[in-house]
């Protein structure tokens, strides 16, 4: 570092910037390879996907996506020839493998379950979290620190340890394998994150706004509704996305407490199998569809990411 540099004495030199940039770009490229590989595999045919050496260049095919959304049965070529022209691209693709489409697979219902449970629990967690965060932020709550620690500590429990009694409780209440049961459970897990994050966001809104509103004749409830909530929109949106990502990605509870009607996508995707083993293009297709929303959210959230992953402990 030269002391005669033009702007600041502590600015990194051009060389050190270049070296740092090169290493970071290399790391980023290597760390993104597994994800690119998932994406590439989803467009391979099953033989291409298990070729040695692994194929980087290949003829793209939508077979993986066809297999993901359908169940197929093997038929004799004579039978397939007797069927008449194929009705769609997928139909044509699977016929080349001497198969016919027998019906839709379970992927769509599982994906819809994921959507319902993730959005349902996010809504509940953010609703409850906003109210509690406002309560903790603005009022003198007895034992507030203990309550907040209690709320946080529920998130620290190992999921399997929680799942044992929940499994028994849900069996008694008839909530096993229901969307409602999963929404309740995910709400309970997410509400701790929501309270902690939102308390931070609401703490940053000056009290004077509500006080002014109350002097103008609003009740506290109206002041909360008309001044605090609009100010907290960004924080609420960021919190909601974090809750959504958790519920969307969650596997342990879903794998142990759902098996059929309420099963979400994470425990379902690994069970996609083809003839003679895992159908990797179909798994990759399911994984790609499953990951894309999270990629979009990550990019939207990048400014709030730090806050979200540390429960609001570190703010930039």
């Amino acid at each position: 570092m030269s002391l005669t540099s033009a702007h600041s004495v502590v600015a990194p030199s051009a060389t050190s910037k270049r070296v740092a940039g090169t290493i970071i770009v290399l790391y980023a490229l290597i760390s993104i390879v597994p994800l690119l590989w998932i994406f590439a595999t989803s467009f391979k045919t099953p033989p291409d996907s298990i070729a040695y050496p692994p194929k980087i260049l290949f003829q793209p095919s939508i077979e993986g996506y066809c297999n993901l959304f359908s169940t197929r049965t093997r038929q004799t070529p004579e039978y397939i020839n007797s069927l008449g022209p194929a009705t769609g691209v997928c139909d044509e693709t699977v016929r080349k493998r001497n198969m016919v489409i027998a019906g839709p697979s379970n992927f769509m219902p599982r994906f819809v379950n994921s959507l319902i449970i993730a959005f349902g629990s996010t809504f509940c967690a953010v609703f409850l979290g906003t109210l509690s965060a406002y309560g903790f932020s603005r009022f003198k709550v007895p034992l507030a620190d203990d309550l907040l620690f209690f709320i946080l500590s529920t998130r620290m429990m190992p999921p399997i340890a929680v799942a044992i009694p929940i499994y028994l409780m849900y069996r008694e209440l008839g909530l096993s394998d229901t969307a409602l049961g999963m929404i309740l459970l995910y709400t309970a897990v997410n509400v701790s994150l929501a309270v902690w994050l939102l308390k931070g966001f609401i703490d940053e809104i000056p009290r004077e706004y509500e006080e002014a509103a109350m002097i103008d004749g609003y009740t506290r409830l109206q002041a909360f509704w008309r001044t605090v909530l609009p100010q907290a929109t960004t924080g609420i949106a960021a919190t909601a996305i974090f809750c959504l990502i958790f519920a969307w990605n969650e596997y342990a509870f879903a794998a142990l407490l759902t098996s059929g009607t309420a099963q979400t996508a994470p425990p379902f995707i690994p069970t996609i199998i083809g003839e003679g083993g895992q159908d990797w293009p179909a798994v990759a297709a399911g994984t790609t569809i499953f990951l894309v929303p999270i990629l979009v959210f990550t990019i939207l959230l990048r400014k709030q990411l730090l806050r979200g992953i540390t429960f609001g402990a570190v703010r930039k």
Binding site: R18, S31, L35, G135, I166
Partner: protein, 315 residues
């Protein structure tokens, strides 16, 4: 202060409005706002916890609900502490937690330190690096099984390309001595960005004037790093370490899909043992006792975590 404001508001407003202001007292509103959350957590977290504590003193088996439940006292706890398998699982967990944290902290801090140079395009590349940690550990962990395949997998191919060892011999998931590292690698790939992001916040919190002063004092770059950068970023590094420690202590999803605890029980971390005992052997009472022990351990860690967190906040 709040009460005084409320009083002054009440005094300043006409009678009709004052009635509205007093509609719900602040105290009432506070409880109205907070109690639903507390009730939900009591119902979904605390009640089951007490149920688990009760079960841990019994020989209950969830797959035989009609059998008479016997109170066995502390027998489950005694058996766990004497159970060889449990100790092996704890050692596996310790190996996993130690190495993931060490690697993630070293790589994560280095990356943050490099990104802090603010080279051109650093924001874009940072976002790219952050992507893996946002994804589902289960779904991505499952796909790593494919990358680890001895011959057709990309990982094995890349390693054999670099090292010259035939790709068929790199059985990351089937080799007893490699399998524990296979989960360390995936976890490190996934969570290094997490440590990096927190370290970056730590580095950016160091005021520039300190470096300027050090520069005036002719402190070497090496000296500046050890006397300014590292100590001032340390609380953040600790925060990241504790958070990763808690998370990896509970690790279940990625390991369950990647190795399922195998081969044998070489990657059987505590949560996998717990799942096998509770949902495969159906030893509900016994596994509840193990769950309570794990919970107490995590709770202890959480306590330390919150204390450290408060220290970071005070800065």
């Amino acid at each position: 202060m709040l009460n005084r404001t409320a009083d002054s508001v009440a005094r300043a407003t006409p009678e009709s409005l004052a009635r509205k202001v007093r509609g719900i007292s602040d105290k009432g509103l506070a409880w109205l706002f907070i109690s639903p959350t507390i009730l939900l957590l009591l119902a979904i977290n605390i009640f089951p916890l007490f149920w688990a504590i009760y079960l841990s003193f019994t020989n209950y088996r969830a797959n035989r609900p009609n059998e008479v439940v016997k109170n066995v006292g502390l027998a489950n706890y005694r058996r766990i502490l004497g159970d060889q398998d449990i100790w092996i699982a704890m050692q596996t967990t310790a190996h996993f937690v130690f190495w993931t944290i060490l690697l993630q902290t070293l790589i994560g801090f280095t990356l943050a330190w490099l990104i802090d140079r603010k080279f051109r395009g650093h924001a874009f590349w940072t976002t790219i690096i952050l992507v893996p940690m946002m994804l589902s550990p289960a779904v991505v962990g499952n796909f790593w099984r494919f990358l680890y395949e001895p011959q057709i997998g990309l990982f094995a191919y890349a390693i054999s390309f670099v090292s010259g060892i035939p790709a068929t011999q790199i059985g990351m998931l089937s080799n007893v001595s490699l399998a524990p590292w296979s989960i360390v690698i995936v976890d490190t790939w996934m969570w290094t960005p997490y440590v990096m992001l927190i370290c970056l916040a730590g580095l950016r919190s160091i005021p520039e004037y300190i470096y300027e002063a050090a520069e005036v004092d002719r402190a070497s770059n090496w000296r500046q790093f050890w006397s300014i950068t590292l100590p001032m970023a340390l609380p953040f590094i600790m925060l990241a370490v504790l958070f990763r420690g808690i998370e990896n202590f509970k690790m279940f999803d990625m390991v369950n899909l990647l190795t399922g605890g195998g081969p044998g029980s070489t990657t059987e971390v505590a949560s996998i043992t717990l799942k096998r005992q509770a949902f495969e052997s159906w030893r509900t009472g016994y596994s509840s006792a193990f769950a309570i022990i794990l919970f107490v351990a995590v709770f202890g860690l959480a306590n330390i975590y919150v204390k450290a967190l408060n220290k970071v906040k005070q800065r």
